[in-house]
């Protein structure tokens, strides 16, 4: 049989039918739903008199609009409240399992899915959210969809689409000190650009990726979309399998053994074809900090803001100048000399227990700098939060001057009350630094949890190794 790559295998095993022009009807195993992109889909279903095809495949959770403080009082903002209540009633009407706002299992949809074992290797996973690529860390084919497609999947359990091209990004070698999955992701995007993966499904491989924990692999796949790829994925290994042992939705007993046997086949065959290949030397990667308004505008922590004058392409130069003006930075400014106002540790990129441990490790026994207006930790889920509290991480953060919040998307996109004021500068562990993303006029620098924590302590960006 022809050697197939992981993406081929995942795709082939879900094709219900295929038209001559290559348009396939793809079966969807898991449909994750949140409050922002689902209301019109449910309404469409209702107007057409249709029912969800398989309610058991759907898992819903409100995350984008939920407040991160004072939840006992409910949601104050009326528009947000209505969206969340609409999700609650849609799920109740159709018998869909939902983790409501005050459920311990509530959290960011991309943290909750794997945590519950609702995402499993070999699945097709969709959600009305572009960062669904996160779930590819478990050798699942996972990608974001629009509202019309949410309705389509609810009604038919399938999606119409054509297969993408495949790309392998191999990261080989050993990572340096304080270099994390986030830095790999930012480094790759800096190298191939935000359109580098457009039209492709990316498989991340190589010894540095194998060495990552499952959480690190999630961080990496989370940002595949920022490299232009709808899906990112990593092959199954023993770490993948161990991750699912004993999770609520994981198979048990004999089924577990059968599943493991199948899961072990979920990797690219020797000699499989890829439409594009990129190889990266892990030793080259330093902790990364974005300086601009696109994730590809990124340099190493010991670097400086680039000078547009050194770029000949006028479009690129203009883009850089505009970004520098928005960010309030000047060319050649050293990254370590940039002072910040706020710290956000959270989002579906970096809000899992390992991220919190790594950040806590940096702040332990230290205190947030005087110039920091707000430093907040927003755990990815209620279960992450309670685990962190068991380990005493909440006290480490609180004693250092951080706020310890309730789980949700929070200041990643500022749909709730957590946001930057115009001109404020934030060290953020999220994934998008677009203009206005964290609040109108807000300035976002994307970094790892370690670097965000170090910036909180120093009051400016700094290599954690150089903190006194």
């Amino acid at each position: 049989m022809k050697a197939r790559n992981l993406y081929d295998k995942l795709w082939d095993s879900h094709v219900v039918r295929e038209e001559k022009d290559g348009t396939a009807l793809l079966y969807i195993d898991r449909h994750l739903v949140h409050e922002v992109t689902s209301p019109q889909a449910f309404e469409g279903l209702r107007l057409a008199g249709r029912k969800p095809w398989r309610t058991g495949s759907v898992l819903a959770v409100a995350d984008h609009n939920v407040p991160t403080t004072g939840r006992e009082g409910g949601i104050r903002d009326a528009v947000s409240r209505l969206q969340v209540e609409t999700l609650d009633s849609n799920c109740a009407d159709y018998g869909i399992l939902e983790f409501r706002m005050n459920d311990l299992r509530q959290g960011i949809v991309h943290v909750v899915g794997p945590e519950q074992g609702a995402t499993l290797p070999g699945m097709t996973v969709v959600c009305g959210d572009s960062h669904t690529s996160t779930h590819g860390a478990f050798a699942a084919l996972a990608f974001g969809i629009g509202t019309s497609e949410v309705e389509h999947v609810l009604a038919t359990q399938c999606l119409l689409g054509k297969k993408s091209k495949s790309m392998r990004i191999a990261v080989e070698g050993k990572l340096g000190r304080d270099v994390t999955a986030k830095d790999i992701a930012l480094y790759i995007i800096g190298k191939i650009g935000t359109a580098g993966g457009t039209g492709h499904a990316i498989e991340f491989s190589g010894s540095a990726v194998s060495a990552l924990s499952m959480e690190g692999r999630m961080t990496l796949c989370n940002m595949a979309i920022e490299a232009g790829a709808r899906a990112g994925m990593v092959a199954v290994d023993e770490k993948t399998i161990e991750y699912f042992r004993g999770r609520p939705f994981s198979p048990k007993g004999e089924l577990w053994e059968a599943a493991c046997n199948y899961w072990r086949t979920l990797k690219s065959d020797e000699g499989a074809h890829f439409d594009a290949t990129v190889t990266i030397d892990a030793a080259e990667i330093r902790p990364q900090v974005t300086w601009g308004t696109s994730p590809e505008m990124v340099v190493a922590i010991d670097g400086a803001v680039p000078d547009p004058k050194n770029f000949s392409d006028p479009v690129k130069r203009q883009g850089m100048e505009r970004a520098l003006a928005y960010m309030g930075l000047s060319p050649n400014q050293k990254i370590e000399e940039i002072a910040v106002d706020k710290i956000f540790i959270g989002s579906c990129t970096n809000s899992r227990i390992e991220d919190l441990r790594a950040a806590a490790n940096v702040v332990k026994g230290r205190h947030v700098a005087k110039n920091i207006k707000l430093a907040m930790v927003v755990p990815g889920s209620g279960l992450v939060k309670s685990q962190a509290e068991k380990e005493g991480l909440d006290r480490v953060f609180l004693e250092a001057g951080f706020e310890w919040r309730e789980p949700g998307c929070s200041m990643c996109l500022a749909m709730n009350d957590d946001r930057l004021s115009p001109g404020e500068r934030c060290a953020s562990t999220s994934n998008r630094n677009f203009e206005g993303r964290q609040g109108q006029g807000g300035r976002t620098h994307l970094v790892s949890p370690e670097l965000a924590a170090a910036a909180a302590i120093a009051g400016h960006f700094v290599d954690p190794g150089r903190l006194s």
Binding site: H14, V16, R17, L25, Y27, D29, P39, Q40, E43, G44, L47, A48, R50, W53, R54, T55, G56, L59, V79, L82, Q83, T86, G95, L97, G117, A118, L120, G122, M123, S148, E151, H152, A155, T156, Q157, C158, L160, P248, F249, S250, P251, L255, W256, A258, A259, Y262
Partner: protein, 216 residues
């Protein structure tokens, strides 16, 4: 989606080129959690004298007496006669949602913006492209006669005027089929329902663990 076969409807003329989707449904109404109910805010900025916001009681707002859709003679119109490049601007599907919710079933114009044209078919609206000269004439006839109606026969691909003149139009065969049958993408996929079910059974047999968890 409502099937579209034959329509004999009152015509309303909107005599402006380049009507964009923000004019069709202004952006403040996109916050809605609904797909229906946009009809009262169709052309909101032209239709009312005050500034519209979601949640207002539109029946209490003052109508702009100079806007053509507010003329009593066009009440209940199902066919919109428009000028070139209708539906340009943002890709919001709310624009066809609003037109459909208002009661329009067909739009006749010399040209449409691409995305809008596609979105119409997904929502049971028929966009018809006719030669600019013919559209000119239809504008004259519509405003010249109260209660001017046109008949649209999608099967035969003709627009028939009150004098019995039949004007042919083009439409993609696949889209025509979907519209006549009232098939949206979902309807089309459900035509293969048996295949999906058969696949699901095989899939469940091969990977039963994919069907555990919150399965009822």
């Amino acid at each position: 989606m409502k099937p579209f076969g034959y329509l004999d409807g009152l015509v309303a003329p909107l005599d402006r080129p380049n009507v964009d989707t923000d004019a069709i449904i202004p952006k403040q109404f996109l916050k809605s959690i609904r797909r229906s109910g946009f009809g009262p805010n169709l052309f909101d900025e032209w239709r009312y004298l005050d500034h519209g916001e979601p949640g207002m009681d539109n029946s209490k707002r003052q109508l702009n007496p100079d806007f053509v859709l507010n003329f009593p003679r066009y009440r209940g119109a199902q066919i919109l006669l428009a000028r070139e490049n209708f539906g340009c601007g943002s890709s919001r599907e709310h624009a066809p949602w609003a037109l459909e919710d208002y009661g329009f079933r067909a739009i006749i114009a010399p040209s449409f913006a691409d995305i809008f044209y596609n979105n119409c078919f997904k929502n049971g609206l028929l966009p018809i492209v006719l030669d600019a000269k013919i559209v000119d004439r239809l504008f004259l006839e519509t405003s010249g006669k109260d209660g001017y109606r046109l008949a649209i026969d999608l099967e035969k691909q003709v627009v028939v005027t009150p004098s019995g003149e039949a004007i042919g139009f083009e439409v993609d065969a696949f889209r025509k089929h979907c519209l006549i049958e009232g098939l949206d993408d979902i309807g089309l996929t459900l035509v293969h329902g048996d295949e999906i079910r058969a696949f699901e059974d095989r899939h469940r047999g091969a990977q039963p663990w994919l069907f555990i968890g919150n399965e009822k």
